[in-house]
Amino acid sequence: MSLFMIFLLLIGLGGIGWISARIRASAFAAPVAGTVGGRAHSRPAQHAWYVALWTAGPALAMLALWSCVQPTLVNADAIASLPAIERPASDVERQSLLAEVHALASGSIHAAFDPRADEALTGWRQAQTRWSLIALGVALAAAIAGGAWGFSRVRPDFRARNAVERVVMFALIGASLIAIITTFGIVASLLFESLRFFKTVSPLDFLFGLNWSPQTALRADQAGSSGAFGAVPLFWGTIFIGAIIAMVVAIPLGLMSAVYLTQYARPRTRRLLKPMLEILAGVPTVVYGYFAALTVAPAIRSFAVMVGIPGASSESALAAGAVMGVMIIPFVSSMADDSINAVPRAMRDGSLAMGATTSETIRHVLVPAALPGIVGGVLLAVSRAIGETMIVVMAAGLAAKLTANPFASVTTVTTQIVQILTGDQEFDSAKTLSAFALGLVLFAVTLVLNIVALRVVKKYREAYE
């Protein structure tokens, strides 16, 4: 019997506990003549939940613990089932034998290389059955004991509601803590791996070095075998694509779209156009990447060749940046939309009453007044653009160069992370670990951008409220 079956069984037992407690509580919950609302403190359903929690809760907790321990116990027994002479001597040998046993057991291979695997498999199966039975016994005992204890307390004067609500509150607090745990997990895992990286490569070389070639050497005497981890070309590529080219596309188009939608469009047109603009934000980035690589990049390249620009590459910064800019338009537009709408109406009306045209009002009153909000929105857009991955992976190329030629191929932080981590990896090489250092830089920069942007937007909102 697998642990999953035991899990289902415990849920079923909890259900039985729920029903029986409800029946018992309903018996005394009926209104008694001469009193208000009967004798019981809690509703039958609350008693029922109390018993169900006591039946399934402790047993499930034990099962969860057990599921962490059981594989170790089963593996130890499987090895112990072999005759002493055949037992694997080294740790590596032990692991490869166990891996084969597991593969045999799950049916993913039909025959093992190691002749001992078949024998160990029998031992493994027996141990699996034995320990599962023990788990079943322990879980059942816990469920019955818990259920009996809970059931014995189902009495009219028992405050089941308070007990159940305390559990609910703990569940709520626990769920809220997941966000903190995730943030902590991100920071901890990035920091931990980055520190391992910085043991081999100095942080100064990483942050200010101009040469990026993380290839690991095949031979010790190979040229460039040390691998160079100067990340400045990647930072430049990221800024060039995400903060310069994409923003040159997204800011004017996004801002003008927002201006048109808020100031000129009739409500019907606005209701139609705004969702259509937002479709742009809903298209998956891999689709943009494919479009950029297959259609936009070749077109840009043939244009560059036609005009005679040197260094035109089939993977260009311009293709990736322009497509990314289009993706960001709805984002900039909706942030600008919010900021323009937040400008007090009196300012707009005052300007119009003085005889300014709508466009003069927008340029001289609304946009300057909304500027902090718009700047905040642009900062958020930049943070999103530099963290964007698929478009640059598919369209920007891999050449780590310091160039300001938009028709040349540049590479970005996210491209390199994907490139480094999707091959075969050994987890102690500087190359693999450098991806985490890049991730740490990316995380820190986007975090600072977001905090600054949110603060700017908040301050600006307060100014008009």
């Binding site: 991100i186 931990f192 048109y260 891999v286 289009v326 045209t357 991955t389 698929m390």
Partner: protein, 429 residues
């Protein structure tokens, strides 16, 4: 008196609005007004044009991916050559017996015989699989000669669809014209694309494997992120005391919502794979990673929906004796649920289109079968698109675009559902 005098002294002649200078100025202002308005409309127009271009490009490239070219090949299923007999292909060992027989060689020879030398190159390398299926379904065919519609090889397929372009091989084109004249080639709906999984041959690939992987991954994501997100939103909006811990939770959630998705992939790689030793490429790990990414979206949407429930509802419930937990779970939550669901669907749609974090946790392996469960190796739709886009064979261009069409249709459906839910159930107080 003095002020009065001053006013009269600085008074000047009223502006003559009909003078040519003033008229010209007004014209210029109106012209710049019109230009500005046109620029606004133009900005939206450019965005819409880009969207239209993108969709049209995918449709034009991808429509042919749902069709396939087949050629008619007569094959004599000689039991002697195949070393098979009736009993073996009806028994329980039929699959193994057929796998061991020389069906692929026989199919290639039959193609050579039918189309002349080099005929085997016109038929897909995996065409014999279809012969095997037919034979399994109808063992009586053994020993007889039957005509099979077999999938054409990529070059012939592209020629038939008129997509070979400048790379066209004149021999293949000639062969196609000959077959066409003989009526031995046809184009039919490619059911294999909707039911199959990945393959190395573009004419045999299918989307179902990746689609099922996406479904399982999304299910894991939903099961984890929805309850946690809703409970978290309820706590923050209804019970949380204003203190440093609550501020910390709020700051974490707002920042997580803006963290680049690839960072979640790094988290999944470091924690789920390297620390907890979970299986690589598994929908379980992908779902967990995407759940962490979707969680802040659900919490933020949930809080907005809960905030929109008027306080009078809570006061009324408290007034008739409900406990704080009853108020929330019996009254506030049901009223806020449509809004929460809308936010959840939007978050799930975002997770469905996400590629980068899944690449980090190894969901980019070549997997030729649909996944069985949460821990078997799988890939998902966007990653499949990414993998196909990397292939050099021309046949993959239309398949990639066709996969994109499937993904976009699915996303459109999800967003449509979200809009429907919002319009149908959302209440305004």
């Amino acid at each position: 008196m003095m002020a009065q005098a001053n006013v009269t002294t600085i008074a000047r002649a009223p502006t003559d609005w009909s003078s040519p200078a003033m008229q010209g100025r007004i014209r210029r202002r109106y012209r710049s007004e019109r230009l500005f308005k046109a620029a606004g409309l133009g900005a939206i127009g450019i965005s819409m044009l880009f969207l239209a271009l993108l969709l049209a490009n995918m449709l034009l490239n991808g429509a042919s991916g749902f069709r396939q070219t087949e050629v008619l090949v007569p094959i004599t299923l000689d039991p002697g050559v195949l070393m098979l007999d009736r009993a073996r292909i009806t028994g329980p060992e039929a699959e193994q017996a057929l796998a061991a027989s020389n069906l692929d060689g026989m199919t290639a020879e039959a193609a050579d015989a039918a189309f002349g030398k080099g005929g085997a190159r016109l038929v897909s390398d995996g065409a014999w699989l279809r012969v095997r299926e037919r034979l399994l379904a109808d063992p009586a065919m053994l020993g007889r000669t039957a005509s099979f519609w077999l999938p054409a090889a990529t070059a012939l397929d592209q020629a038939a669809k008129g997509k070979a372009g400048s790379h066209a091989d004149p021999d293949v084109q000639a062969a196609y014209d000959r077959l066409k004249a003989a009526g031995k080639v046809r184009t039919s709906v490619n059911l294999g694309f909707l039911t199959g999984a990945d393959s190395t041959d573009p004419v045999l690939v299918g989307i179902w494997g990746a689609f099922k992987g996406s479904l399982i991954t999304m299910l894991v994501t939903l099961i984890i992120s929805f309850p946690i997100g809703v409970l978290s939103a309820l706590y923050l909006e209804e019970y949380a005391p204003r203190n440093r811990w609550t501020d910390l939770i709020e700051v974490s959630i707002n920042n997580l919502a803006a963290v680049p998705s690839i960072i979640f992939g790094l988290l999944g790689l470091a924690v789920f794979l390297n620390f907890m030793n979970m299986p690589r490429s598994a929908p379980l790990v992908g779902g967990l990673t995407l759940a962490l990414m979707t969680l802040p979206v659900i919490v933020i949407a949930g809080r907005n929906a809960i905030k929109a429930v008027p306080p009078s509802v809570r006061d009324a419930a408290l007034g008739i004796g409900a406990s704080p937990v009853q108020v929330v779970f019996h009254h506030v939550l049901p009223l806020a649920l449509p809004g929460i669901l809308t936010g959840t669907i939007v978050g799930m749609a975002r997770a469905l289109g996400e590629t980068a974090p899944l690449l980090m946790i190894g969901m980019r392996a070549f997997i030729a079968a649909a996944p069985e469960g949460v821990s078997s190796p799988a890939t998902v739709l966007p990653v499949q698109i990414f993998l196909w886009s990397d292939e050099v064979s021309r046949g993959f261009v239309e398949k990639t675009s066709a996969a994109i069409i499937v993904l976009l249709v699915f996303l459109l459906g999800m967003n449509g559902l979200a809009i429907y839910l919002r319009n149908r159930f959302e209440r305004r107080w």
